[in-house]
Symmetry: D3
Subunit: 63 residues, 6 copies
């Protein structure tokens, strides 16, 4: 604890490394807890599995 | 915001389109918010990763 | 299963009733599963606990 | 309801069967609800998608 | 990691203690990981915020 | 989308403001998406609702 879940698009390994490092850094500074307390889970979603405004991103971004 | 996550079985793209459209429509009508405010994430699960009543659906549905 | 979580603002009981009924209806029609299979959980959030575009909704909506 | 989500590493089918059975058993005994009321969803994560202490488990476990 | 979230009704402190202890014990035995690796979060829901079969549990259980 | 949920302890409003701002900033820089695309939801948990290593934090931190 704390547990952070990042729900978003497909990412490269480099992006995941940077995201986990930076999110943990800022969270550590705000909560004044040791960084080992923080878990970050990245959930990559197909554009076909995400809808915004009633439309799949897979279709929305094709326009 | 609002953020809706739909955790269920594998779906076809047509089902995802219809689900996102209709869930957004009914949510928009109930909350009186613009449809662009709504995000829907569909999480498809293998039957081997879901248990009901203490048994994997993969085994339960084979019976 | 399926399990639907609706993460949004505070709602009245009437809105919750309508949301649960309508989301279950459209989901039942799309997945062709009996309505008893569907669980909907509504998570109400304080505007102070939700950030969009880097700003708490509690502050954003005051402007 | 209740809905239990287990977010962890890749598991074998046997582990999933045992996990679902045992988690449902102990939850049933504590809540005194019929086991059919319980749903367990297992989310398997790549080590590249999980960060602990600011570092991806994929890198951390290589050391 | 692993992170287990238990979404259910209001519980007493004793039930929470027993649930956390027992879920961690069985998970530890199945995954062969040290118990310190496991986090369990209990989310208590009002019956007015949970719908099963298209109806709020608050109304369903009154019948 | 992306949707970030931060599951942790009780926080002050100032901490929430800083957390939302900084998490959005770093996420924007890594994903190269406009900050308006990012939603952050903060879930505050009682220490009695979180277990680590099989024990409620409410009890663990009393020792």
């Amino acid at each position: 604890m704390p547990h952070i879940s990042f729900e978003g698009p497909k990412l490269t390994k480099e992006q995941k490394e940077e995201l986990v490092r930076k999110i943990t850094e800022v969270s550590t500074s705000v909560l004044k807890l040791p960084k080992e307390a923080f878990t970050v889970v990245i959930r990559e979603n197909d554009l076909e599995n995400v809808g915004v405004g009633g439309e799949l991103l897979a279709n929305k971004l094709k326009k």
